[in-house]
């Protein structure tokens, strides 16, 4: 989709064909007929006309998507900690599984706009503090029981219980109260206005499980596949759910999913034809994949980044000149070329990437400028000193980036000493705990989530310990602002503030690289992560 259908005028007959194509795309992506119609109506088309366009596209689509077939998918992470509990799913492997077996109230499309899934209607009131959710009535869990509001209440409340160990706990913080107001209706009260709640509810952490579920040895969800086998650290087998509420989905009969941690082994398994799809392809393997017939590389540009974190609350980061010096030492072009083989977009020390609709292209790009770096370093008084940088395989490519930084820094009289620490426990034991180290995040669905979690003063993952009152105020204002233009302005200013003040150096936004056999169709990039934001299962099909 090249533009947002909600703001496009579509009455024109000339545009009809284009729209049918767009809508066709939407079907391929996994939107239901109802969603498509709703979208077209929202775009200003009459109900009858929308129905026609949707049918046209649906037929065209049905000819391409083939039903049946089984595939094997090998992802990069696996261990005995693999889980079917959506609240605990932290890595792509878990999240891919969760999207097979469960649904959320909403689902994110490739523009990261939330589309309705289990919810039939989500309406805000009280300036987006109170949200009313109406559930679909035709949804059944895999065990045959119908979806009710009790299931949703249970699933959303779980995050508050520390014993659940929810990874979405801090995201769920603003949700104050969840009340069932009917068998298929509920109310969500937030602590403060947030127009982005529907997007939040589309994240894997908030997928809906059956009321009262505590045993996650198997998955009882509403999702497109049923769980036929699940062995943590070994594999899972998903088989088609014939009663799935989205018509004509899923396309495949069976998906076997397992992990291969070793990247060369993963690529070899694809090239030898043992698996149909892999994720987390090293940019250095890209050429090998591209030059092999019958396999394709699948690039997802998005907001994922690995950043150098300079803590602002201790030396040397407490000196703003030092931070500026380091930010100018990054040869971003070189990092993009040597480390990422150009599968990355240059970053500008702020976390909103170009795929985000609030990205501000007018913010001047910070260049690699040894002279300015030297100037700031001299002024900071830290010239010719040695500083340790903590790197880890856990923060992908941090070792390589740090080595390049080390080289450029040497030329201007700044010595960095690399300290590689183990991947195990990196995020709890090292991340944000050293004066200079590496951090990172995967793509977040909205600018608000990105800023609230990683940059708001005092936020638990405020990597550099940056605090800015103006920024905090703008964040709250933007959250409840409904005028897009004004909101854009606010986010632009926030990007500038982070760019100037925070201790996070974001050299590039790395693309997610996946690869698959050519017969596998239907993949569309969704910027929250690789493999359609890990929601590939219900959207892909096998040709022939």
């Amino acid at each position: 989709m090249n533009s947002d259908p909600r703001i496009k005028e579509t009455k024109d007959v000339e545009l009809f064909r284009n729209d049918a194509q767009c809508v066709g795309e939407a079907f391929r992506r996994g939107a239901t007929r109802r969603e498509v119609i709703n979208r077209l109506i929202a775009a200003g088309m009459s109900v009858a006309a929308a129905g026609t366009v949707a049918s046209f596209a649906e037929t065209a689509h049905a000819q391409t998507a083939r039903r049946g077939g089984r595939i094997k998918v090998a992802l990069s992470q696996t261990s005995t900690a693999d889980t079917l509990d959506p609240a605990r799913g932290l890595n792509p492997t878990d999240q891919s599984r969760h999207f097979m077996f469960y649904n959320g109230l909403t689902v994110l499309d490739e523009t990261l706009s939330p589309q309705l899934a289990l919810a039939e209607e989500i309406t805000p009131s009280d300036r987006a503090t109170m949200w009313h959710v109406k559930l679909r009535r035709d949804v059944r869990f895999h065990d045959g029981s119908p979806l009710t509001s009790a299931d949703v209440v249970y699933s959303l409340r779980r995050h508050k219980d520390p014993a659940v160990g929810s990874g979405a706990r801090s995201l769920a913080e603003p949700i104050q109260e969840i009340t069932a107001t009917g068998a298929h209706e509920l109310r969500i009260r937030l602590s403060e206005p947030n127009a982005d709640l529907p997007a939040l509810l589309g994240l894997t952490g908030f997928l809906i499980v059956k009321d009262g579920t505590t045993d996650f040895r198997t998955a009882n969800g509403t999702g497109p596949y049923k769980c036929a086998e699940f062995r943590p650290g070994v594999r899972s087998i998903a088989v088609r759910n014939n009663e799935y509420f989205k018509p004509s989905k899923p396309h495949l009969d069976e998906i076997e999913l397992f992990g291969i941690a070793d990247e060369p082994a993963r690529v070899n398994a694809l090239l030898s034809g043992d698996v149909h799809m892999i994720n987390n392809v090293n940019p250095r393997s890209a050429q090998r994949i591209i030059s092999t017939p019958n396999v394709s590389l699948f690039e997802t540009k998005g907001g994922a980044y690995i950043d150098l974190v300079i803590r602002l609350d201790r030396a040397p980061g407490s000196n703003p000149d030092f931070v500026l010096a380091v930010k100018h030492m990054f040869n971003r072009e070189q990092i993009r070329r040597a480390v990422y083989r150009n599968y990355a977009v240059i970053g500008n020390d702020q976390p909103i990437d170009p795929t985000n609709r609030f990205f501000d292209p007018t913010l001047p790009q910070r260049p690699y400028d040894p002279e300015r770096a030297r100037f700031h370093l001299q002024r900071s008084g830290f010239a010719n000193q040695t500083f340790p940088i903590v790197v880890s395989p856990a923060a992908g490519n941090s070792e390589e980036m740090a080595q390049l930084l080390q080289q450029t820094a040497l030329q201007i009289g700044c010595n960095f000493n690399l300290q590689r620490v183990p991947a195990d426990g990196y995020w709890s034991n090292h991340w944000m705990k050293h004066p200079i180290g590496f951090g990172g995040t995967n793509g977040k669905p909205t600018a608000d989530i990105q800023f609230s979690i990683l940059f708001k003063s005092g936020a638990p993952y405020n990597e550099s310990g940056w605090a800015n009152e103006r920024f905090d105020r703008l964040l709250v204002q933007a959250r409840s602002e409904t005028d897009d233009a004004k909101r854009r302005e606010m986010y632009a200013e926030m990007q500038r503030l982070v760019h100037e003040g925070s201790g996070c150096c974001i050299p590039v936004f790395a693309s997610n690289l996946d690869a698959h056999v050519r017969q596998l169709k239907g993949l569309v990039p969704i910027p929250t992560g690789g493999m359609m934001g890990y929601n590939f299962a219900e959207n892909i099909w096998l040709d022939q």
Partner: protein, 318 residues
């Protein structure tokens, strides 16, 4: 004869229990020293202090270390090795799903390796100093000198990706045909064999040379027995002890040391289970895996000693 073996078995069992007790304490202390715990591992990047504290309490990790150790030990003695802390599955179940795989891989590799290694070892000992001996030595040394992950990856690129003779992955569930079985195990067994055959061959050669130098073999040679006959009837029975020892040590390596092969070929064995358990700080699972490796090692050594006793006339009749 049986008395010797019985005494040996009994004393070995006593020693094994002692050793296992010591190892369990060492492993427990080891996992305690490791930075981070299972609660942090579960929460990953989402590990805020309050979330960690809450989960720790839920997993009973807030109890003092020695109490947790004795709780675990008490469970083990009553036959229950506990539950995994990360996924709450019974440890026994997790082990049961992996142990047969590990044993299978070890068995197949042993069947391939042992005859080749023993034959090569004995021949190069008999013909020591010959061109054959030198070539075999050079070849095995060269193979051993290549990092295992390089052999594994190279084997996959050549035989799976280029030639497509064998699959790149070696996991298959359920009953499979003999043909499939052969294809699945070909590459991992090849990789493991490269290392193992070389070592076993060298140990066999050394043991054989040692025996051939001994006085009674010289006596047999002086009496005019043919060389092959000397080797088979006089020297070989006396080398069974050391050779059995060598084989036992190699096989114990196959259980825990196959980690690289298990990772590269995605083979669900015990070594990977232990690696997972260590990285998630899953103490009961770590303990169970290490106990198995340790017992297997001691058990195999005992078997080797028994073989040694049974094959040695002097020890047999004591």
């Amino acid at each position: 004869m049986s008395m010797v073996v019985v005494r040996l078995v009994l004393s070995r069992i006593a020693i094994a229990i002692l050793t296992l007790g010591f190892v369990s304490v060492a492993v427990f202390v080891g996992t305690e020293i490791l930075p981070g715990d299972v609660a942090e591992a579960i929460l990953g990047q989402g590990a805020t202090p309050e979330a960690v504290a809450g989960l720790r309490a839920a997993l009973h990790l807030d109890q003092p270390a020695h109490i947790r150790y004795f709780l675990w030990l008490g469970g083990l003695l009553s036959g229950d090795p506990g539950r995994s802390l990360v996924n709450n599955l019974p440890v026994a179940e997790l082990i049961a799903s992996r142990l047969p795989n590990s044993l299978m891989l070890a068995a197949v590799t042993a069947v391939v390796c042992v005859p080749i290694a023993l034959t090569l070892g004995i021949l190069s000992a008999v013909w020591r100093g010959s061109l054959f001996d030198r070539a075999a030595n050079f070849l095995t040394t060269s193979i051993v000198a290549v990092p295992e992950f390089l052999i594994a990856t190279l084997a996959v690129i050549v035989f799976a990706v280029r030639l497509r003779w064998f699959p790149a992955l070696s996991y298959a569930a359920g009953i499979i045909s003999l043909d499939q079985f052969f294809r699945l195990f070909a590459l991992p067994v090849f990789t493991l064999s490269c290392v193992l055959t070389a070592w076993m061959m060298r140990m066999t050669r050394a043991a054989m040379i040692d025996t051939l130098r001994s006085s009674y073999v010289e006596m047999a040679v002086l009496k005019g027995a043919r060389p092959m006959r000397v080797v088979l009837t006089h020297a070989l029975p006396n080398t069974i002890g050391p050779i059995a020892n060598a084989v036992a040590l190699s096989l114990s390596y196959l259980l825990g040391g196959a980690i690289i092969v298990e990772i590269v070929f995605n083979y669900p064995g015990l070594a990977r289970l232990l690696v997972d358990a260590v990285s998630t700080r899953d103490m009961p699972l770590v303990q169970a895996c290490v106990m198995i490796f340790c017992s297997a090692y001691l058990y195999l050594l005992m078997l080797a000693d028994i073989a040694g006793i049974l094959s040695n006339p002097r020890l047999r009749h004591r």
